[in-house]
């Protein structure tokens, strides 16, 4: 069942003769429960694609539909609510709120909706991510790997339709990188979570079941590995 559909997505920066196309006619479809890696070198347009899929940015033309919602029709408030409920974002630099404990960081998307967490689910994700005993610590009291796990837990807390991970291992050492990738695989398998992993690292991309390669804003290959 298709959860993400991009049609002729184009993103142009600049104006007049100074225009640069970051994305140039992207057609992409992702089914529910898939683990897709978007692979590309620096400047290939992968971060731009992530921002558009995360409703952080809008395409210049084309349509993006996630879980039945056309992102191009959302205003700023609707886009924020969409991000909160339908998309989980994981960044390279974690982007945790430094003044909140790990627990509060994880629960923040629910708090924004004034919702109480499902304790069982909360325990499941924090347990499986290995941060159950770190929940009352502040981000600066955690290691980089632990901070990234908290960020992943936060992105999963709302059971989003799509988890978008932007170079989640880019700031981690090899051991922590492997652990984070394993966590993503685990959530994909156990929670049937659809994941779009954006990376420039081929080794990390190999964790996904499908690798889409971007080059100069275009998809140059779309390969299913199993």
């Amino acid at each position: 069942m298709e959860i993400l559909k991009c049609e002729k997505v184009r993103k142009v920066y600049g104006s007049g003769g100074n225009q640069t196309a970051a994305l140039d006619g992207i057609d992409l479809s992702v089914d529910r429960g898939e683990f897709v890696a978007i692979l590309g070198a620096s400047g290939s347009g992968k971060s731009t694609l992530l921002h558009i899929l995360g409703s952080v940015d809008k395409p210049t033309s084309g349509t993006v539909i996630i879980d039945g919602t056309d992102l191009s029709r959302l205003n700023q408030t609707q886009a924020a609510v969409f991000r909160r409920r339908k998309v989980g974002l994981v960044y390279q630099f974690y982007n945790l709120i430094p003044t909140l404990t790990a627990r509060k960081n994880i629960l923040m998307p629910l708090a924004l909706d004034k919702k109480k967490p499902n304790q069982e689910y909360f325990d499941t994700i924090t347990g499986s991510l290995g941060i159950a005993d770190k929940l009352d610590l502040l981000p600066n009291q955690l290691s980089g790997g632990q901070q990234q796990r908290v960020a992943i837990a936060r992105s999963l807390i709302y059971r989003p339709a799509l988890l978008l991970a932007d170079e989640p291992t880019g700031n981690l050492d090899q051991k922590n990188s492997k652990e984070v990738v394993d966590m993503l695989k685990l959530s994909n398998r156990n929670l049937k979570q659809t994941i779009l992993l954006i990376t420039h690292d081929e080794k990390v991309a190999l964790a996904a079941e499908r690798i889409v390669t971007l080059e100069d804003g275009r998809i140059v290959s779309d390969e299913r590995r199993r």
């Binding site: 995360g54 408030t77 991000r83 630099f93 982007n95 430094p98 923040m108 924004l112 709302y158």
Partner: protein
């Protein structure tokens, strides 16, 4: 977000909102002070009107029967109705009506009059008092600017505060722009971010708002006490100023302050909440230059540190706008105020105290008494220490001046061609001018005649025969010339004085003898034409250059007052004490005069030394009040510099770390800081000084004062002190920021990636 995020953040970052707290406190203080002062100014004015005019709202002229008054009282909106024997219209009795609902005055009074069968022309409204309650009637054409002025000043203050303090909120909010970017990326809506920021602002400002408001009320009470005690206490007959406060004023003050603070917080909160997550997450909090623009002067003067300081100042331009603006305005206002008051002091001293120094020591106003009714003149003259005492009264009359009577000098500057119609009117046979009459007691008049070398007589007038050269606007150095031609010694000169307000009467002594004209005209023999005035504290021809002043004895006035009328109700006694009389002696003399008048006359007195001191105190008081406002303005600017520099360490730590990493020594960094401080404090002064100089030049030109005279009394020291205070405050702010920068650990900052 409040429970989960803001409460914890504020608990753990108490100093982060310091600038916001200060800004809110200053806003509340200033607005509360203004509202308190305005309310009391309004209250004072309303009380004054009630004392002078009465507290009635409308009045019906004429006598009414008791049952009619009862009928008026029975009207729904009427609170009371009472007979006033001495109404406004002369001696005719009136019925004063007091409304319980003042707004009904213009609809109900005509109905009352109609019901009682009284013509509408017999209704009078107390427009002045009603306007104080914002009740305006169609017949009230006076401008009544008090309320609009208050509203305008409050609105201007509120607007200025928004301009000034919103930056404090912006700095505080922008420090966490990255965090709000994260919130946005995980789904916080702009509304939620805005609400969170405004909630934080509300919590930060609640305490300062209450403290500032209370202090503002106390400040206004203190200020009014000072004004009453030091400025107005010596003014005779003045209604005392008693501080008052009303719950509605408090409510209004809080409302205006809350709106001001809310808008100040809402502006940056709105901007921040509208940023996309991309914009906010990318924000590193570092100072950025939008365009590369090389500073020229600072590198030239201070080298690389100057260039770095110049770039940093350019990048902070927006954040420091408040500081620059308020420092410029405060310095400009302070310097101009000092110069203006110095100029005013010099002018008053020259034109009033020095000119009249030898003319009077004590001035007595005898209420509702004509000069011939006052019988204590000789007893006053007989008091020890009294050198002379002139009792006089003033009256207004008109005098026709035919062309042939005009002096050649006067004709040379155009005669009456440039005279305003409000003072001079052309009539058959000449021009009708004002002829103020100074009616002196007989003894003083005789003495005056001797002073000017005329044989004393009590049946004629002395004419002040001088007119200012109206073509020369220099009022400080006027040139006088003869007004009218002096008749030959063998001619019996007469002056035909007319009742003021009977200007339509045909002209010339020749046309006079017919009966009705004689009723409003009196021919008085002219004893002398002179350019020498009696020793009285009076100014002549200050507004109306064309008036022809007549000095006449009281005995003559007795005979002609029936024709001319126009006397003022009060008389005056100009008393000169002995040579170099001290304040204590004058006070004692005043007590003696009061004793003589006690029970017979209602008098008000003032003495020259006391008045001089009061005048100085008034100027001092006004300078204190205006100075306080200037200091408050400067405080806002300095507060902004503090909030900005104390936020440095956080906002500019990466910038400083980079400088350090490329080898900038602490000494060079310190130099860069000093340059920034000097520019911030010096720029407002440099911008303001030429404006101040130009303004002084203009003021000197307009007041015809020589620059040398001004320079001897110029307020160099207060201006210099104010300048140094600004410099010292900015230096202190930068010193504190420098201490913070010194503690930065280079390795830690450069490793810290959460800033990205």
């Amino acid at each position: 977000m409040w429970r989960d995020y803001s409460s914890g953040y504020m608990k753990n970052n108490r100093t982060a909102g310091l600038s916001v707290t200060i800004a809110a406190f200053i806003s509340a203080l200033l607005l509360s002070l203004l509202c308190g002062l305005f309310y009391n100014a309004w209250k004072y004015e309303a009380e004054r009107i009630e004392l002078e005019e009465g507290g009635w709202h409308s009045r019906i002229i004429g006598e009414l029967a008791a049952e009619d008054i009862e009928t008026i009282r029975n009207f729904a909106n009427v609170g009371d109705a009472a007979v006033n024997e001495k109404g406004r219209k002369g001696t005719e009795p009136t019925v004063d009506i007091y409304f319980s609902d003042k707004r009904a005055v213009f609809t109900d009074t005509p109905r009352i009059a109609q019901q009682l069968g009284i013509p509408q022309e017999r209704i009078v409204y107390n427009y002045e008092l009603l306007a104080m309650y914002l009740i305006r009637g169609p017949g009230d054409t006076a401008p009544r600017l008090l309320f609009p002025l208050f509203l305008l000043i409050t609105a201007a203050a509120s607007f200025s505060l928004i301009i000034i303090i919103h930056n404090a909120f912006a700095v505080s909010m922008n420090a966490r722009i990255h965090q709000f970017g994260i919130f946005s990326s995980i789904g916080a809506t702009p509304k939620q971010i805005r609400a969170c920021l405004l909630q934080e602002a509300a919590v930060l400002c609640a305490g300062p708002l209450i403290a500032g408001t209370l202090l503002g009320i106390a400040g206004s009470a203190g200020l009014l006490y000072l004004v009453d005690a030091y400025i107005g206490s010596d003014v005779p007959g003045r209604h005392p100023l008693i501080f008052g406060y009303h719950p509605l004023v408090l409510a209004l003050t809080l409302l205006v302050t809350i709106i001001t603070i809310w808008i100040s917080a809402w502006l940056p909160a709105r901007r921040l909440s509208r940023l996309t997550p991309l914009e906010t997450i990318k924000n590193t909090g570092e100072l950025q230059l939008k365009r590369r623009k090389n500073p020229r002067l600072l590198p030239l003067l201070f080298g690389i540190e100057g260039e770095l300081a110049g770039s940093a100042l350019k990048a902070q331009k927006k954040a420091l706008r408040t500081a620059s603006l308020s420092l410029i305005v405060s310095f400009l206002a302070f310097a101009l105020m000092q110069c203006f008051f110095s100029l005013s002091r010099i002018s008053t001293r020259e034109t009033y105290f020095e000119r009249y120094q030898d003319v009077w020591d004590i001035m007595v106003t005898v209420k509702d008494t004509s000069v011939d009714e006052f019988e204590e003149a000789d007893r006053i003259r007989g008091l020890d220490d009294v050198e002379s005492a002139v009792v006089y009264q003033k009256a207004a009359a008109k005098r026709l001046i035919p062309e042939e009577e005009m002096s050649e000098d006067m004709k040379s500057f155009g005669g009456f061609s440039g005279a305003p119609a409000s003072y001079v009117t052309q009539a058959d046979g000449g021009w009708l001018v004002n002829a103020p009459i100074i009616i002196m007691d007989d003894r003083s008049f005789a003495a005056y005649c001797e002073q000017i070398g005329t044989a004393p007589r009590l049946d004629g007038a002395v004419i002040l025969n001088q007119i200012r050269d109206v073509t020369n606007p220099d009022f400080r150095h006027p040139v006088f010339m003869p007004y009218i031609k002096t008749p030959g010694a063998h001619e019996n000169a007469v002056s035909a004085l007319r009742r003021s307000g009977s200007e339509e009467t045909p002209a010339g002594p020749a046309a006079m003898p017919s009966g009705s004209h004689m009723e409003t005209t009196a021919e008085v023999p002219v004893l002398a034409y002179t350019q020498e005035v009696p020793a009285l504290r009076e100014e002549y021809a200050t507004l109306d250059y064309y008036e022809l002043v007549h000095f006449i004895p009281a005995s003559l006035w007795k005979e002609i007052k029936g024709q001319i009328g126009g006397t003022e109700a009060d008389s005056y006694i100009c008393v000169r004490a002995g040579e170099d009389a001290a304040l204590e002696e004058l006070n004692a003399l005043q007590d003696e005069i009061a004793r003589l008048a006690d029970g017979k006359y209602a008098i008000e007195q003032e003495n020259r030394i006391q008045k001089y001191e009061t005048n100085n105190r008034q100027i001092q008081g006004m300078m204190t009040v205006f100075g306080a406002f200037c200091v408050l303005l400067a405080l806002i600017g300095i507060g902004n510099v503090f909030s900005n520099t104390l936020g440095f360490v956080r906002q500019r730590r990466r910038e400083f770390a980079r400088y350090m990493s490329v080898g900038l020594t602490p000494k060079e960094l310190k130099k860069m800081f000093c340059i920034e401080a000097v520019v911030i404090a010096g720029r407002p002064i440099l911008i303001s000084l030429p404006i101040v100089v130009a303004a002084i030049g203009f003021m000197l030109k307009a007041s015809y004062m020589e620059i040398g005279v001004f320079l001897t009394d110029a307020p160099f020291i207060p201006i210099l002190l104010f300048m140094l205070a600004i410099l010292a405050s900015v230096a202190l702010a930068y010193y504190l920021a420098w201490r913070g920068v010194r503690r930065i650990r280079l390795a830690e900052v450069l490793r810290d990636d959460t800033m990205m």
